[in-house]
């Protein structure tokens, strides 16, 4: 059951990503968790593309889009983190409460 | 648009100029690759120390009158002169003389001021030992003569720039027996004798 194997790996990765996303105090680690989740999605896409759509490979195309968006996300996300860091002098997520209420 | 194109043109010109000058520089380094290396490969080739070279000090026991001028002109009063006044002949008798070459800076003051020329500079410069105390030369050690570079069969002697013939720059290209720049006294006498005669 290779397809299932890939999917389970992806699911595990996704869950780890969610865990990191929620529990991390460090903003950079939050970004890394998001990357993990995106990668989990990518594994799914490629697995489906390989096992269900092997002649068309539409999943791979999607994976490329996901990768490009992830790159953009990382760049912008890090820029945001850094500019917050610059103004608040911390990367603690608990302190990022400018928009509360 | 035109301005932009101009800018692009300037940029291109600058790039070409840069390439040209870097190429010019590489030409210089490349040109050096065909020149003869100037390396003097030390243990196999040695430069002949100049006549005035201030190497290890040579000391002649018999000439010394224990006047201690060498001690007084030495920057650190280094020479150790051990003498005893002999009442019979009313002269100082030298008992021992030593210089520690681990401390000596070879300034040559002692040689310059020695009234009896008991001290002289040799051409020995490789004074390396495993124990620095071995560098403390007593009068016996000071009296030894160094081996000459030119007489060492394992060494190719090379002359320093000032001793090369007129016009020669590189010692490798010149045999060490060739005449150096400057005329011999008799030649000058001959030449300037003529000049002098003409003047008269």
């Amino acid at each position: 059951m290779p397809l299932e194997a890939f999917l389970i790996v992806a699911a595990a990765l996704f869950c780890i990503g969610i865990y990191g996303l929620i529990t991390s105090r460090n903003a950079v680690r939050v970004l890394m968790s998001i990357e993990l989740m995106l990668n989990a999605v990518n594994i799914n896409l490629l697995a489906f593309s390989n096992y269900l759509d092997s002649s068309n490979l539409r999943g791979q195309v999607f994976a490329i889009f996901v990768i490009s968006i992830a790159a953009a996300e990382a760049a912008v996300g890090l820029a945001i983190v850094l500019s917050i860091y610059r103004s608040r002098d911390t990367v603690d997520m608990e302190q990022f409460n400018l928009l509360r209420w | 648009m035109l301005k932009f194109l101009n800018k692009v043109g300037d940029y291109a010109k600058e790039a070409i100029q840069s390439a040209k000058f870097i190429g010019q520089g590489m030409g210089v380094t490349f040109d050096h690759m065909r020149r003869r290396p100037i390396t003097v490969q030390y243990p196999y080739e040695k430069l002949i120390p100049s006549e005035r070279f201030r190497g290890r000090i040579h000391f002649e026991y018999d000439k010394c009158i224990s006047c201690e001028v060498c001690v007084r002109v030495c920057p650190i009063n280094l020479p150790v002169v051990d003498w005893e006044f002999n009442a019979e002949i009313k002269k100082k008798e030298l008992k021992s003389y030593s210089i520690d070459f681990g401390v000596c800076i070879f300034c040559g003051n002692c040689v310059e001021y020695c009234p009896t020329n008991a001290l002289a500079m040799t051409e020995e410069y490789d004074l390396s030992t495993y124990d620095r105390h071995e560098l403390n030369f007593d009068s016996v050690a000071l009296g030894r003569m160094p081996t000459k570079v030119t007489e060492d069969p394992f060494v190719t002697p090379l002359r320093e720039f000032a001793y090369l013939p007129k016009g020669a720059i590189e010692p490798h290209a010149v045999s060490h027996t060739e005449r150096r720049a400057g005329k011999r006294p008799e030649e000058i006498l001959e030449e300037s004798g003529n000049i002098g005669n003409n003047a008269e």
Partner: protein, 393 residues
């Protein structure tokens, strides 16, 4: 991909005392913001040997071998100033021939110093090859020094009232050879370095010092001349016989590292020119000629006169520094090298204050490097041309 420029944590970085480009044992404590220099603090004293105090416990004769350890790359100048100071105080006259020999030696020493500066400066920017080329030429100068003085660096050649020995046989010819050989070599360096776009980009407009600023900071030498001040002690103080030679003060107006580079390179050419003139004008000509003239003209000839001696009177080991005080300076390759000498009619000077050019020129460094990049510190420091031996003394 984006390069994110951020306000990074300031980083205090310690350059030296053992750092490849610190020219000896200078230590710079640099505060960096990323690659930008926020602050720079030189720390001196790692090569302090108490040179001034040593001078107070030595006769001038005894002290002379020490002085080449101040600025060990422009050795003749330190000797010149050490003998000039008591000479002026005691009013000792110097024979013309000795003065010419001194000038030749000084200018050779200046070339040697500038050559080494060129090598290290370009090496500080990252080009290693010119370093080897300048050593080739410098070795020749040192060969000449060795033939005349007996040592390559620690000459102990100048004496109160002249020099220790006359020029040896054939020396004048070979020195001429060298000067004729040097100029094409300098052309070669310039081909290699001057127009190199990377070199230009790196140092053009870098470390600019304005005219007023340079004067206010007490800079001297090429640092000052590159900032548009035409100030050369050889012209101003009229010491030795520089007035008899035909030469120009080399200067520039832009005040940046490139200007300093050009000033020094031009000074090398000018020095070569001066040496050639001095060799021609040397009273009595080369040593072999002088001797021949003396033999020919007999014992009472003018060739035995005072102007054709290499030393007026050999200084006695108990030469006393007369009472009095004054300040004597020479134009060393790095700038104004001065000695403030106080004598009290004793064999030891009472005070022997050294004014090293490198020490004074170094002061401006923190101001120049602030706001620059890390790599610029080395370029600017290289262009200042310091020798820690004279900075720390």
């Amino acid at each position: 991909m984006v390069m994110i420029e951020t306000k990074a944590e300031r980083m205090v970085i310690n350059l030296g005392p053992h750092h490849p480009s610190m020219h000896g044992v200078l230590r710079l404590i640099v505060t960096l913001d990323g690659e930008n220099v926020v602050d720079c603090e030189p720390v001196l004293g790692y090569l302090h040997r108490g040179m001034e105090k040593i001078a107070e416990n030595r006769t001038i004769i005894q002290y002379l071998p020490y002085v080449t350890r101040w600025d060990y790359l422009a050795t003749m100048f330190t000797e010149a100033i050490t003998v000039n100071a008591p000479e002026r105080l005691a009013n000792v006259s110097v024979p013309r021939r000795a003065s010419y020999i001194r000038m030749i030696m000084l200018e050779l020493s200046r070339i040697a110093s500038h050559l080494l500066w060129l090598g290290t400066f370009v090496a500080d920017i990252g080009a290693q090859t010119p370093f080897f080329y300048v050593f080739r030429e410098r070795e020749i100068i040192y060969d000449l020094f060795e033939a005349a003085t007996g040592m390559r660096m620690m000459h102990n050649y100048f004496r109160i009232g002249g020099v220790a020995a006359d020029l040896p046989y054939g020396w004048v010819d070979k020195c001429e050879d060298f000067c004729n050989y040097l100029t094409p070599k300098i052309d070669e360096y310039e081909r290699l370095i001057s127009n190199n776009p990377i070199f230009r980009k790196r140092i053009e407009g870098l470390g600019t010092i304005g005219q007023d600023e340079a004067i206010n900071w007490g800079l001297s030498g090429p640092m000052l001349r590159a900032s548009g001040v035409k100030w050369d002690l050889r012209k101003i103080d009229h010491y030795e016989l520089y007035d008899e030679l035909d030469w120009e003060v080399q200067w520039d107006t832009s005040g940046d590292c490139l200007a300093r580079y050009f000033v020094r390179v031009r000074e090398m050419r000018e020095s070569a020119k001066m040496i050639l003139q001095a060799l021609k004008a040397l009273p009595g000509g080369s040593y072999e000629n002088l001797e021949a003239q003396r033999v020919l003209a007999g014992p009472k000839s003018e060739w035995n006169g005072p102007d054709y001696q290499f030393i007026s009177k050999k200084p006695s080991p108990t030469f006393k520094v007369p009472a009095g005080e004054h300040y004597v300076r020479v134009e060393a390759p790095k700038g104004e090298l001065g000695v403030y000498l106080i004598g009290e009619d004793s064999v030891f000077p009472w005070r022997f204050k050294i004014r090293p050019p490198g020490f004074v020129n170094l002061q401006i460094l923190p101001q120049l490097v602030r706001g620059m990049k890390l790599a610029d510190i080395m370029a600017i420091l290289g262009s200042v041309d310091i020798i820690m031996g004279e900075v720390d003394r």
